[in-house]
Amino acid sequence: MTTVATFEIGYRRILDPDGTIDGAPPAFARDRNTLVALYRWMVLCRAFDAKAVALQRTGRLGTFASSLGQEAVGVGVADAMAADDVLLPSFREHGAQLVRGVTMKELLLYWGGDERGSDFAGPRHDFPVCIPVGTQAPHAAGVGLSFRLRGEARAAVCIFGDGATSRGDVYEAMNVAGAWTLPVVFIANNNQWAISVPRRAQTAAETLAQKAVAAGFDGCQVDGNDIIAVREATAAALERARSGGGPTLIEALTYRLGDHTTVDDASRYRDDDEVGRHWKMEPIARLRRHLVDAHGWTKAEEEALIADCAAQVEAAAEAYLATSPPAPASMFDHLYEELPAEVARQRAALLRED
């Protein structure tokens, strides 16, 4: 046998679980304000998740997928993006959506079963939540292609879970992104579980990052509970994408600390022990430790931030609950740009029912 090709998968962690930084961190990670901003987003995201779960438990929200424990991935990725990049999220990326500018009220509307939540005022070109696992990956290739065709220095960022990496269309999308050197950053938000199926049962691949090898571009792992590593790796991948270097796959290793969704009961299929171990690695406490140790983050600052986030979340929930329900006929109003006669008759029939 002659060796004709070799590959390496690297792993990057900057901020250790104990809050210390080894070696030289990227410039942004030395800036207190930047770190505090990232911290604030993560705390807000967690508060939002908790509120959403509470609303669901009391019958005021639909099925909801919390991102508890995974806040560093969404926030870190979105914070690295430019405003005119395009995000293609899965259903567990509230963190990323919040940072991009989607409001909590809009997110609650969506999860409350109202399409208007996806007509967000914020990043108008961002994609809405994608429920069928991995099916937004081909869209990301299309978005990337649109940038290439227009000669724009923008990138598409597609986030999906570990389970999604088993979907053929995610592979097809990565493959074409490689073949056409498209400006797409694929983020595998590896929270170790796809509902009840553990990561090791999805694939024999030692890493998910190596899925990129099949598509002919680079993949790497980062500690997904280290927001500094997530942000740095995403920024580098975006830079490469925008400058014609093609796609990257980043596997962010994190852990889903909660149930899969509000209709799931994770105790059926996994140990409390395992969950407990992973609580020790979670991203928010880690960054807080670092802020306290290295940047003199005070208890007062912490309390003010928590209170502020809680207030924002409460205000959003109230605004959501105060929103009047959508008009029934609205289910027809955006089916086509112009409603064909035969469907217009059905719309009229629906109106007559009132």
């Binding site: 639909g62 099925t63 259903f91 969506y110 409350g112 079963g113 109202d114 399409e115 429920i131 069928p132 696992v133 991995g134 389970g163 999604a164 088993s166 979907r167 053929g168 269309d169 796809a194 509902i195 009840s196 199926v197 049962a201 999805q202 694939t203 209709v263 799931d264 059926r268 299929y269 329900p325 959508p326 029934p328 609205s330 289910m331 027809f332 089916l335 035969e342 469907v343 059905q346 719309r347 629906l350 029912e353």
Partner: protein
């Protein structure tokens, strides 16, 4: 290795079961009586399925025969074709019907063709199960009813139970059937009611409709979850002295049109009820056959009460999307008043 259809016990336990429990019992029965029955799907193992349709089966039959697949729907369609050709009877689950589309390629291009293509040398006795339909306030893509897509595919069977006992008997029949069957479970009915089910391995036929209620004024035809609304409508009509016949199609393909024709022959009037969008829904096929072979019996236009021809809305509006008892009653009245 296989001992198909052998009864594994003589004692038949009767129990009041929900539909999802009846599905679980039928699966357990089929696995016990035939070693070649193997279950495949996402979260069907330790989790027991997101609706618990496979609850306890991994403990009883082992992880070899109750297999959590990777998150790969196209594979869930295709792998059973290989397994079935080698003499197994795979029962694959798609978690929600909204995720079933990647399976269509394998169903059209292989599962339904293997026997024809090889002139009987290989065959494909697989079952593809999926919960379908709305009404449980689920997220987008979790509430679809797309049985019509399958009903157009030659060589397939499409079965939709409407009650626990039907689910038990029809699923057993589907698993024992030597050809591919799509088995759609009305998830809104999963826990809606209990019914006495005799767990004796008794199957129901896959080639006939069931007349649920005899009547002489109008024929109401439906299947799956909508049967409840249809029965409620017949009750409301009965209050006004209208004697409705209610037919549960149960097996959409092959269609037992004879039962429907015989009924419409007596009533002269027909309302078809389904949750799927109107246009191209399976109601069209039944109405078309009435417009053909059944025309001489019709004294009034055939009405179809169906989901609107729009995207199933998110939960806030889903109740306004689905056919309601009042829409069915109104359609029946129009048909009855037609001069």
């Amino acid at each position: 290795m296989a001992r198909p259809h052998a009864k594994t016990d003589a004692v038949a336990a009767t129990a009041e079961l929900t539909l999802v429990e009846a599905v679980q019992r039928a699966l357990a029965r089929a696995m016990a009586e035939d070693e070649t029955v193997v279950l495949l799907g996402e979260d069907i193992g330790v989790d027991g399925g997101v609706f618990r349709a496979t609850d306890g089966l991994i403990a009883r039959f082992g992880a070899d025969r109750v297999r959590d697949t990777p998150l790969s729907e196209s594979l869930i369609g295709g792998l059973p074709v290989g397994l079935a050709a080698m003499g197994f009877r795979p029962v694959a689950e798609i978690q929600f019907m909204g995720f079933i589309y990647p399976v269509i390629d394998q169903i059209v291009n292989h599962a339904t063709r293997m026997r024809t293509r090889t002139r009987g040398r290989l065959s494909c006795p697989m079952v593809l199960r999926a919960p379908y339909g709305g009404g449980i306030h689920a997220p987008e893509h979790h509430s679809e009813s797309m049985e019509a897509l399958f009903a157009h595919i030659p060589g397939l069977r499409i079965v939709i139970p409407s009650s626990p006992a039907k689910a038990y008997g029809l699923l057993l029949a589907a698993i024992r059937d030597p050809d591919p069957v799509v088995f759609l479970e009305p998830k809104r009915v999963y826990r809606a009611a209990r019914e006495a089910v005799v767990d004796d391995g008794g199957a129901l036929p896959l080639d006939r409709c069931f007349t649920i209620l005899k009547g002489s004024d109008v024929t109401l035809v439906s299947w799956g979850a909508m049967l409840q609304e249809t029965l409620d409508a017949s009750e409301s009509l009965a209050g006004d002295g209208v004697d409705a016949e209610v037919i549960d199609v149960a097996t959409l393909k092959p269609l037992d049109m004879d039962t429907i024709l015989e009924s419409v022959h007596r009533t002269g009037r027909c309302v078809i009820v389904h949750e799927a969008p109107l246009t191209g829904g399976f109601g069209a096929e039944i109405a078309a056959r009435l417009a053909g072979e059944g025309l001489m019996h019709l004294v009034a236009p055939v009405e179809r009460v169906a989901g609107w021809d729009t995207v199933m809305p998110l939960p806030r509006l889903e109740a306004r999307y689905m056919p309601s008892v009042s829409r069915i009653v109104a359609a029946a009245r129009r048909v009855l008043e037609y001069a």
